[in-house]
């Protein structure tokens, strides 16, 4: 019997990817790619569309820090039926906006049946700060990370939560925001979001994801469809809660390696990445494995770090449609070149 064909779809956040750089606009891609894989591992930036999401039954929602650890061989993934979710809300969120978030939690429990056990407010404001680096990518920091960690520790030790959703209060005016709403440029909040979730995953080793709290913007006549999913609700939480509800747990110890269904890096058949975004820890780790690396030039990014410039061997294609063909051929054991004629 063939083992399950397993691929990782990676679209780094905050680098202005033309596909996947906006509000869950890589979900159509993930839906199609999941049809040629037995298991598709991907991450919140691909699957979170604020109020919109799609439950792909053979996909695995893995936060970026955990994905890096998985690719390095240090951590494994253990699929679950559901997770007990805890929610952390930034103290800086105003009362009306806080109520909207609490009602989103109520709705996710009542309408989707998610197991959200508790919500907790941080003891100080997180102090989210965002910026754009000289390379043009989005980054950010938080002023009070200890407050975030204290809230998470309480949820983990007292409520025994298995996954954490975090909502940070982000600035209402941000450099690049207007361009983003027009479907251009970089998502200004993405870098800070990644820092928040990475810190929690690094510390607690359980699935985490972030949703920003933002004041409602006035309707925008020229709003891009790529950003529209973030304008149709009061919070960005629904997709995060759905993703976390069945995100695989991390296996961080060798002694836990034995359960059937666990996924380890040795089982990864392929990884698909934008062609200009190959300078990640994940791709460098996977380049040392028996794993087909497929890079897509048609998904342009603000940075230009092609695989070859770092000595990474890859199959370069022009579009995701072509990449999906390469995966199908790889799964079938067919050399893609056999399907081409001069």
């Amino acid at each position: 019997m063939q083992r399950p064909y397993t691929a990782i779809l990676i679209i780094p956040t905050g680098i202005g990817a033309t596909i996947g750089g906006y509000a869950g606009d890589a979900i159509p891609l993930a839906r199609v790619m999941s049809q040629v894989c037995d298991r598709l591992i991907t991450h919140p930036n691909v699957l979170n569309g604020a109020s919109l999401y799609w439950n792909i039954s053979n996909s695995y929602y893995v936060e970026g820090y955990g994905l890096d650890k998985f690719a390095s061989g240090g951590w494994g993934l253990r699929p679950v039926r559901s997770n007990r979710i805890g929610v952390i809300l930034d103290k800086a969120i105003e009362p009306d906006l806080m109520l909207r978030h609490l009602q989103t939690v109520d709705g996710a429990r009542a309408t989707l049946g998610l197991n959200i056990v508790d919500s907790i407010v941080t003891d100080t404001s997180l102090g989210v700060e965002i910026g754009i680096s000289t390379s043009g990518i989005s980054w950010g920091t938080i002023s009070n990370p200890d407050s975030l960690l204290r809230a998470a520790a309480k949820l983990v030790t007292t409520e025994k939560v298995e996954a954490i959703a975090v909502v940070g209060r982000f600035p209402d005016t941000m450099e690049g925001e207007e361009k983003y709403r027009q479907g251009k440029g970089v998502d200004p909040i993405a870098g800070a979001e990644a820092v928040i979730s990475h810190l929690l995953v690094r510390t607690f080793k359980i699935p985490c994801a972030h949703a920003p709290a933002l004041a409602t913007s006035p309707p925008e006549l020229d709003l891009s469809p790529l950003a529209a999913a973030e304008e149709i609700g009061y919070t960005y939480m629904p997709s995060v809660l759905v993703g976390l509800s069945r995100a695989p747990q991390f296996i961080t110890s060798e002694k836990n390696k034995s359960l059937p269904g666990d996924i380890w890096v040795e089982e990864i058949d392929a990884v698909i990445s934008p062609a200009g975004a190959c300078g990640s820890s994940l791709l460098m780790s996977l380049s040392q494995r028996q794993c087909q690396i497929v890079t897509v030039t048609g998904n342009e990014t603000l940075i230009t770090v092609p695989a070859a410039s770092l000595g990474i061997k890859s199959t370069q294609v022009s579009s995701y449609l072509e990449a999906i063909g390469v995966l199908a051929a790889h799964k079938a054991g067919v050399d893609p070149q056999a399907l081409l004629r001069e």
Partner: protein, 56 residues
């Protein structure tokens, strides 16, 4: 604990494995890494620029 954005210029290495090790060692001099990526490559000077967020 505090979070910081840093950049570093690092020599290109023979293999991706060596480059990854060199980057991680360099970043650890400035804190515990949360997120990093190579954001540009200068093949003439054989240097890469790395952007990272670390905790201290």
């Amino acid at each position: 604990m505090t979070t910081h954005f840093i950049t570093a210029e690092i020599d290109l290495q023979e293999t991706p494995a060596e480059l990854q090790q060199t980057i991680e060692a360099e970043i650890k001099k400035q804190g515990q890494p949360l997120r990093w990526a190579v954001t540009s490559v200068d093949t003439t000077r054989e240097k890469v620029t790395v952007e990272a967020v670390v905790t201290r």
